[in-house]
Assembly symmetry: C2
Homo-oligomer: 212 residues x 2
């Protein structure tokens, strides 16, 4: 049994709030937008969090905080350090996720099961995640003033960094308040409002440049 | 009938060499990686070229130069200025592309047919494209020295700009030589080797910052 906090130890962590994504695995692989509750968008965030052209970002992890029917809340974590069988196309990743969600998970917060190498499902929601993150945390909001500059300033001295993003729906006020209670600030990375996965790509790019 | 050069007039053009992608529309929507010749990657490049969170980049276009079986070469162009029915998930975009590729296209270079609003198929390959681009053109190569800086320097004064990228396969030497004959230089955007669609997201991000 893995502790939740063990899942959050890699250098770059991306937490995506998936407001209505399916949580029981009972969806059709041909209908990721509909029956799976916009799982397609979550999969693209997984892709941009973890893929390099000829490999995986071994220092990064992505965690979908899943709140849709019928078995919420769950956190699906994919660790770049150990993940296997991950391909960049949406359908094959959806198949891995379906398998992970179909596993019966105890009701108690923090219960965690490994589905396939590097893919874990944990019982819990946003509060449980925030209780277990370490390092610095940032809320990603579009149009936060000068977010890119803030990121460039702070990123140099961090060991482990967490970004909280929303899916295709905006954060709810209550979610923003909850995250801000423990985070180091709200940032944005673009003058435009971007898709979640594109934001993740831009964050990686900024950090890659800084570390280079 | 549209002239090829009419398709290349938007401000930001992304040309992706699709070395083995299917060109006759005879593929299975459940197997975009296999029977469609890695069409999944081309679709992700379309996504990152055109999508904003709540809309389409109306000043951008993406052009896949398709060289796979059984009816090459073709250029599939999607214009942000006029495209309709485009959704961010891979499967629905594959369906639009399948429809476009199934249209019988004359064998003469430059023959062009509109499939659905904003989506065009043109007979021709890399040479035909290069004969028709205007403005500045850049070859995107990973690990080209200081590519990002170069882009930041040149981008300020351009009206219309073209980026040439390869798919999941590297450019062939001959392709690089051909593109370099008419381009303004080779650039890179990251110290890491990124997926094609992630490169496009980073280019957009740099240009968005410059224009802001």
């Amino acid at each position: 049994m893995t502790e939740t906090s063990d899942l959050f130890t890699l250098k770059r962590n991306f937490f995506v709030l998936a407001h209505r994504v399916n949580t029981d695995g009972n969806f059709n692989l041909n209908d990721l937008c509909g029956s799976a509750g916009r799982l397609d968008g979550i999969i693209r965030s997984i892709n941009s969090s973890l893929f390099l052209s000829h490999g995986i970002r071994r220092d990064s992890a992505v965690h979908a905080i899943m709140m849709g029917p019928s078995d919420p809340p769950k956190v699906l974590s994919i660790l770049g350090s150990s993940v296997r069988y991950l391909n960049p196309d949406e359908r094959s990743t959806a198949s891995l996720i379906k398998k992970a969600l179909e596993i019966a998970l105890p009701a108690s917060n923090g219960s965690c099961i490994r589905s396939t190498p590097g893919i874990y499902v944990t019982r819990g929601g946003l509060d449980h995640v925030l209780d277990n993150v370490k390092g610095r945390s940032f809320l990603l909001l579009e149009n936060a003033d000068k977010g890119r500059k803030i990121l460039e300033t702070i990123a140099m001295d961090v060991g482990n960094i967490n970004f909280f993003l929303s899916d295709d729906r905006d954060f709810e006020e209550e979610e923003i308040e909850t995250i801000m209670l423990t985070s180091d600030g709200a940032i944005s990375v673009s003058p435009k409002v971007l898709h979640t996965d594109h934001c993740i790509t831009v964050i990686h790019s900024i950090l890659d440049d800084i570390e280079n």
